[in-house]
Symmetry: C2
Amino acid sequence: MTTTPKGLTAIFQPRSIAVVGASSNPNKTGGRPVHMLIKHGFAGHIWPVNPNATEIQGLPAFATLDSLTGVPDLILVAVPGAGAVAVLEKAAEMGVPAAIVLSAGFAESGPEGLALQSRVTEIAAQSGMRIVGPNCLGAIGVRERAIGTFSIALEQEMPRVGGISIVSQSGNIGSAALRLLGESGAGLARFVATGNEADVQAADAIEWLADDDETRVILCCLETCRDAGRLTAALDRARAAGKPVIALKIGVSEAGQQAAMSHTGGLAGSDRVYDAVFARHGAVRVHSLEELAQVGAAAEAKGTRRIGSQPSVAVIAASGGFGVMMADAAAANGLAVNPLGEAARRRINTALPLASATNPIDATAQMSADPDILGELLDAVMEDEANSTLCLMLALSMEIPRLRSVFTAALAEVTRRHPDRTLVACVSGPADAVQELSNLGVVCFPTIDAAMAGIAALGRMEAIAQETRARLPEITPAELDADACRNEATARATLARTGLPFAQDITATTADEAARAAESMGSAMAMKILSPDIQHKSDIGGVELGVIGAEAARAAFDRIIAAAAEHAPKAAIDGVLISPMTSGGTELILGTTTDPTFGPVVMVGLGGIFAEIFEDTSLRLAPVSRAEAAEMLRELRAFPLLDGARGRAPADLEVLEQAIVDLSIFAARHADEVAEIDINPLLARPKGQGAIALDALIIPTVTPRQESAE
Amino acid sequence: MTTTPKGLTAIFQPRSIAVVGASSNPNKTGGRPVHMLIKHGFAGHIWPVNPNATEIQGLPAFATLDSLTGVPDLILVAVPGAGAVAVLEKAAEMGVPAAIVLSAGFAESGPEGLALQSRVTEIAAQSGMRIVGPNCLGAIGVRERAIGTFSIALEQEMPRVGGISIVSQSGNIGSAALRLLGESGAGLARFVATGNEADVQAADAIEWLADDDETRVILCCLETCRDAGRLTAALDRARAAGKPVIALKIGVSEAGQQAAMSHTGGLAGSDRVYDAVFARHGAVRVHSLEELAQVGAAAEAKGTRRIGSQPSVAVIAASGGFGVMMADAAAANGLAVNPLGEAARRRINTALPLASATNPIDATAQMSADPDILGELLDAVMEDEANSTLCLMLALSMEIPRLRSVFTAALAEVTRRHPDRTLVACVSGPADAVQELSNLGVVCFPTIDAAMAGIAALGRMEAIAQETRARLPEITPAELDADACRNEATARATLARTGLPFAQDITATTADEAARAAESMGSAMAMKILSPDIQHKSDIGGVELGVIGAEAARAAFDRIIAAAAEHAPKAAIDGVLISPMTSGGTELILGTTTDPTFGPVVMVGLGGIFAEIFEDTSLRLAPVSRAEAAEMLRELRAFPLLDGARGRAPADLEVLEQAIVDLSIFAARHADEVAEIDINPLLARPKGQGAIALDALIIPTVTPRQESAE
């Protein structure tokens, strides 16, 4: 007796599948799985359940789940809404380990459906039965022919068995990825479309696949994330298992995000936060369905060959024009095209005297004349260490049988001779030629742009695999000072205690105090109204700059208080903040926001227009390590300004990095109470002179209690 | 008796073709054209010329051109180098109107080949015979089966006859485009790959195609431009003929440009100048081979249907996920996704109560159930005016016969009912389904990204067709003032006479003059050394800023002169330029450069780091119209800073526009003498207060005579 599979194992590797709502019509939701299980040869039991039939598609049908001859490992539920819930209750009672609810009529259809869906979640939680869906396209175990889906992608044929697994919230996108991969001859392991995610989330599937022997690469399409912790833990697990995760997150634009929210009921976080999540947890982000499939297939074909964690590429084409396009595409993807070493150049020109042997290598049409010459050429480049990989343009060659045999023979030899290096080819067909090359370990892409983007993505995967992850600061949640958010002075004081560098400041509550402050500072001062009720201080005349001397300070104090009284008569006034004017250096903004899914996020950028017009900011999940803070600054397009460009003094980067770390720790520590922090500007000063924050704002989280407080 | 075709007509529509160097081997350069002419059924005479054969591929062979039974309209030359030249001489003598030199061994192979190629150019010029090549892939007239090429793209089958023509400098890229279009079922008219361009340039082909009855869309792949005037005139002619030109210019990156230069022997202009050329002369630029083919096929399928000159798009998918992706891709391509009007929403929800009808329209899987419902849905969107076009995701539907017939029927009806509007579909296959839809006038793209980029490109074409072209300023070449380039003072004076706004300035040649200048200005001054020999004035202590009063001016004068004497003892000193310090406003840079191919180019951008780090500049060929100058400013990402963003006063845009126009006229007028002009900074001041140029540099063209002057 074998053990009953548990959890998601029962979904991907069931030994018996009951289809509840099975239909004789193979085009119906309850008919197609039965049809495909039979057609593609599922080896386990197929139990159609339908009270109105004795036979379904040639198999004996059962009236109810009760009447089955055993407890199925997996049930597919194709009856809608309330009926599906009743089936799940029955199945839970019977001890069925897993269910896929294909039918719709749940959260996506209104309040009644939402209530039904909550019941599905409950059943899963109470019984331990894992439930995929509802309103989903289901799951597939490719080797096992375990077809728990009605996707038309399998209507014609099954994909080849291989190491790529697909997790998609959207069934149609997952299906399209499956189809693209199948057509390209790539090998698949598992597929799951999680739909409404009443129980099983995409994250759970990733976690299971991380431990799955068959899965070598995980493709993932996300529209939303319902549980940040589950997703990040799953990504970490896949990384630890050495399985690259390639993620397509959709809902990038405002229009797309609106659509995704209305469609998934998910939260509206910033799309950029997903970049931060993927960066932290080691997923490689792609930006289209085609790229998802292409990079997935490439990762599988590449296997353990090396491509370089910051790839550079030697480019070979039989045409100067293609060489130019390849160099352009390499540059667009941040790949260097380094000149070959002299030995390689000499070898190439010995074999092909007319070839331009620098890089791009314009090997002329001669390269296809003789497999020996081509082999020599490829070998010379593979031996050369100037570039970490090689990209060969095959253009139409594989369509011509004569050329196909020349190229295939040469590539087989070169990949055999260089088992550790990656050879990339641009080749769009025919499909069997692409598969033949992939089996040799040649990484194939259909276009030049796809090849160069793909090399960059594969390089990123290699970098992730090699990365020593910096330890994150430990977070001890703490209570926020009661008045931290009250006004700028309290915010400054609070943040200063965490180590952030603020200029000296004095709070004056009378004109005399202002005058004394002026005397003690002895320089030009900025004076700003302090009030928990005034947001835009300048707008109401609450700011005076460049105030010099006691008398001026006294007068400014009176004007500021009078202006506040006039323009914000109901505002509580805490006084006037006085601090020395500071100039010079480069203005940065440093801040945090709270993503509704992933929590506190720290952001840094150059000040004002840089952040606003050029969106030149860098984001990470808080807290960040010092290494990540350094990375954040270096990611800014304007980083050269901090690094001595245009004759400027290099900024004190170490102090800036530490400020980012300190703020990120503060935000993480007070994640529940603080919604947003703005330090704007943070003045970066030359090396050795640190940085000075000139303003601070802490916006508290609005809790329901506070909202109704008035 | 018919007239002998002239010029390029003989290349695309010959009645007789002689193949010199004809071979019995259909894989050789001289054999494949003969093979394909026979195979694909060329109706005219095919005359193989080969002294060593009496028969070639079943046709009688001729020993020499002399022995032919008539004068061929076109000869294909497959004999190399010097032999080819001899053939051309003979052909010219015989009055052959056109030749294609397929063979290599010319400019690409070294100095000897270069000399041979010059001879080819001479023969064409002297005889009037038009010569394509050498070292080229040749030409094709598709309807006529006039196959003057050895491209393997035609080895299997000819493309369908249609309205797309291809002009490519690179044979391989042109061939690949031909193949992509042929595979997608698109209809082709002409093809030419111009190779080394000894006589016929890509521009000449474009010009001929502009007048060709069969050609409706011109695709063009450029690596270089050997004659700016011919190219721009050809583009203008195509525009006047209402034929869109879709241009792929390669050599975008530095690496790509290096490769293109070494490969074509072309000049290293800035790639960005091509954007300016295409913008001025109405070509739509694309950025990959695939995009070239896809947008070309789309333009042909669209015909005269309207898509909007600034398209917005209603998005329909049977899946929420695809709707999200489509909205993202629309946003990435600058396309609005506007909510449908209420009437359309009501109609959609009457037909499909569960459909999300705003936009994206998530029509759910129901839309494929019933052609009437789908028709109603599409019709509702087509009647709605909220968006200028409609994009329908077909995903895998066309692969399933049942769905294919539903969709095709509905689309046929909708395109018939709305003959003026464009319906776009995302569909990747099967090829015959795509062709069936294209024939209905549905514009098909294989991916979501391609569809949205394609809609943007088609919209741009529509905008170009509608554009009323602003009259360019008339240019009267003039001689430059003898001392215009001598120093900043002369440059300022010269440019001020063209209308450019400079602050007052005084040239002091003695300390007393400096003191008097200070008295007359009465404000803080900038003082700068004037010398034709000192480039970097600050570096040698030649600049003093914020000088106030006569005494200070006197001292500063002495310091500046002393510094120059010390650090640049051999420099000619013209004095010290004194001008009032000016601040406030926004710093722009305004300048011109001279492209080696296209001549003077005017550039504007925000000052300093904006231009340098963010490359936020805008470029046009000089001279520009006022409308173009306005466009240039609005193209800047930082334009909001000039337009009142962040509470700033809006800049005096009219004065800035006029300054751009004035400088562009100056640069065009003095194109031969001036290499570069830098006005940096040009201070943009609030509306009504104009602008002030604070510095000026005119760099003269270095003529060979001047270079050897010392």
